[in-house]
Amino acid sequence: MTKPEEIDWGQLEAIIDKHRGESWALIPLLQDIQETFGYIPEESIETIAEALNLFASQVQGVISFYAGLSLKPKGKYVIKACRGTACHVKGGRSILRYMKKELGLDEGETSPDYKFTLETVACLGACFLAPAMMVNRAYFGKLSPPKVTSILAEYGKKKGED
């Protein structure tokens, strides 16, 4: 994931250029930017709108509507705690409370060093692993507080360090 000051504006322009004039391609374009940079820099909204013949408000509206698009940069490790039904009935909420304390982050927050972002998702579809979470693309299941601690330690989070 990229920190805000490291955005390669040339690369961003190239992504926008690929879809110039295709107003229907707004979502794939935004997904492209999100995938490349980990978020959509707010400064790019005007440029996107111009390229696709849309109002900036339309672009902003789409970004804010979809959970998969974000205007905020994310951490190197994005933790997605599952809030699905199966996880919920197996104590997922308690695990989330524990995770928040361990990370010192609330839902949707990123640590100041851009190492961790804590998110919740409606369902990871990994109900057999409940309670479950993902760290970037890796799944972790059958979570308990000690297991959460050891997983976070793998990613370089030491206890007591915020």
Binding site: I27, Q31, V89, C127
Partner: protein
């Protein structure tokens, strides 16, 4: 091979007969073995890939490559046991595999011909008796596989494997042998209803779109599986993507469309990868594109990735989202069959529905209609999860009692707990209490209990689950996912959530139940789309079947299941606590105090009720009251 015609399709199919026979356990060719290792998301999440690589390496090292083939399937049906492997022709099923088990499998099973007993499935309901063959395991023997028929039999990334198992035979018949009227007629006779949840008859949907005027029409596949607790569609896409593509080709022929889209959740990377491969391979064979199988019919399709909005599972919202806008539902009529994507006549079907179509065309509507109940035909795939021993995908004929699914297939409730309810239909559904467990899987029968069939999520709950908390959980989900277009849904769900939350916090008043019911009726009656119309269901069904739990929270300020955070306290039982200090160390908020070898105490003001201390205590000294 490049583009193929029908004869060449049949040629490929007959070439594969020997291969499929081995996997069906029919013949033994020179001791040839096929090791089908599960490779769906469940298996990958349980680290199946290192096992796959290790076994390939070991087989090569021992010079067995000629006789033993390792194939990765999309199978993650019995997800609790992942990673799994089936060895054909004997059909032996090995579970919970790690790379360390590979040596035993190769030397004992493949070379010496002996079972590796420690890796077999053990039946917990029968004194842990090992059951070697997959089809003898009750979890599988009680299922009827139509949608999931290829789960353990094909490599989803190899189109030839799919063709060996009849892929594109239904499409060939639809494109070459029969008329579009006959296609629609067979789908109507089959009685199949939309598996996405609403249960609208698929044949009628196709007929409306076929009759609609217009040169340009679209076929869409809804793979935006959003219900929490549901992963059926993902598994179908991961295990048998060609069945879905073929279903779309047949739908396209039926309504005369030439372009299709698969709208798939971006959260399903493996499904998207396998679909992408399947589409490329189908194009190479000319099974997508111009003049499919030499029939003169053109059809192609693209994948469109969802951007994370639950409401986009609603058909009009999905189409608006493909057009690049905020996916908010619009009023119907006009129905998509008249005016859908880009205002053109459009058919939208769910993944599971489409995966059934090829076999309906191939075997005839009558064949399909023979399975199921009077009004619900065929089979239904459920994602069984929650407080149940065997968790995973189950496909059963319509009409099977829920009891049989939970106990015969699911193996019952762990730790001898009592079943409290089965939640069906996700946020649109409801909780069916234990005394109604004879209810059969039939659209109307399930609706009669206050739940809905839905897309197939089935979450089992036991005595430790609080039904008011479950209602709050779903209300919160619907509230967050409400797109905000209709005031009753946007504001009504918010008010309902506030009231339910208040009840779970012990601040409820007895009139709240009536207020919830009144709000629920209003939201149901005056919302535009299915999300709002069904959002109150979880609250209504829990009030209907578990009113006593609501009353306990309201009148006695008590959560009978000890779940609701505000109504419970963590305490340390003095007689059991040896003062080992473990809980004190794991507590993330330093709520626990006590000297070494002295009984510890929990400060209720600081305690966040995360359960870390309970998980760490070896003496069961911490209780929730």
């Amino acid at each position: 091979m490049g583009r193929i015609n029908r004869d060449q399709l049949n040629e490929i199919k007959s070439r594969g007969k020997g291969i499929i026979d081995i996997r069906l356990g029919k013949t033994l060719v020179d001791g040839e073995k096929h090791l089908m290792i599960g490779g769906g998301t469940a298996c990958h999440a349980s680290r199946s890939e290192p096992v796959r690589d290790a076994i390939k390496k070991e087989i090569k090292k021992r010079g067995l490559s000629q006789r033993c083939k390792v194939i990765e399937t999309g199978n993650d049906s019995f997800a609790t046991l992942a990673p799994v492997m089936v060895i054909y022709p004997e059909g032996v099923y090995y579970v919970h595999l790690t790379p360390d088990d590979v040596d035993d499998i190769v030397s004992q099973h493949l070379i010496d011909g002996k079972l590796v007993e420690r890796l077999l499935y053990k039946d917990a309901t029968d004194n842990d008796k090992p059951i070697p063959r997959m089809m003898d395991i009750p979890y599988f023997s009680n299922q009827t596989l139509i949608t999931l028929r290829n789960l353990t039999l094909i490599d989803p990334e190899n189109i030839d494997d799919a063709i060996y198992r009849d892929a594109y035979q239904g499409a060939a018949k639809a494109l070459i042998d029969i008329t579009t009227e006959e296609i629609i007629n067979q789908v109507k006779i089959s009685g199949i209803r939309g598996r996405g949840g609403a249960g609208f008859p698929t044949g009628m949907k196709w007929q409306f779109a076929a009759q609609a005027e217009g040169d340009i029409k679209y076929v869409l596949c809804n793979a935006d599986e959003g219900d929490p607790g549901a992963f059926m569609d993902r598994s179908v896409l991961e295990a048998d993507p060609h069945a879905v593509l073929e279903g779309m080709i047949i739908a396209a022929k039926a309504i005369n469309a030439h372009q299709g889209y698969i709208y798939c959740r971006a959260e399903y990377p493996l499904a998207i990868k396998r679909l992408t491969i399947a589409i490329e391979q189908a194009r190479r064979y000319g099974l997508l594109g111009k003049d499919i199988l030499g029939s003169g019919f053109d059809f192609d399709l693209e994948i469109y990735q969802g951007a994370g909005a639950f409401v986009c599972g609603e058909e009009t919202a999905l189409m608006i989202s493909i057009e690049g806008k905020r996916g908010m539902p619009r009023p119907r009529p006009p129905f998509p069959a008249q005016e859908g994507l880009w205002k053109k006549p459009t058919v939208l079907n769910n993944v599971e529905t489409l995966a059934n179509i090829p076999q309906i065309i191939l075997n005839g509507g009558q064949w399909y209609a023979a399975i199921g109940t009077e009004r619900s035909k065929g089979t239904k795939v459920f994602a069984l999860a929650g407080k149940v021993i065997n968790s995973g995908l189950v496909e059963v004929p319509m009409g099977m009692p829920l009891k049989n699914i939970v106990y015969d297939i699911g193996g019952g409730i762990p730790e001898n707990k009592q079943l409290k309810a089965v939640q069906i239909g996700g946020p649109s559904g409801g909780c069916i209490p234990s005394d109604l467990l004879d209810t059969v899987t039939d659209y109307e029968a399930i609706t009669g209990t206050g739940a809905i069939m839905g897309s197939g999520g089935m979450v089992v709950m036991d005595e430790d689950n609080c039904m008011v908390d479950i209602a709050r959980f779903f209300m919160e989900f619907c509230q967050e996912e409400s797109c905000g277009k209709c005031t009753p849904c946007r504001e009504g769900t918010k008010r309902m959530l506030e009231i339910v939350t208040k009840i779970t916090e012990g601040r409820g008043e007895i009139d709240d139940i009536a207020t919830l019911e009144e709000l629920a009726d209003m939201v149901k009656d005056s919302s535009l789309c299915g999300l709002g119309q069904t959002a109150p269901n979880p609250v209504l069904s829990t009030i209907r079947h578990f009113r006593d739990e609501y009353e306990a929270h309201i009148k006695d300020k008590r959560c009978p299941a000890h779940v609701c955070k505000a109504l419970i306290t963590y305490i340390i039982v003095e007689e059991k606590c040896p003062g080992c200090g473990k809980c004190k160390r794991v507590c993330p908020v330093e709520a626990i105090t006590g000297e070494k070898k002295v009984v510890h105490k929990i400060d209720p003001e600081k305690c966040i009720k995360c359960g870390a201390c309970i998980a760490s205590c070896k003496f069961d000294a911490i209780e929730v009251v």
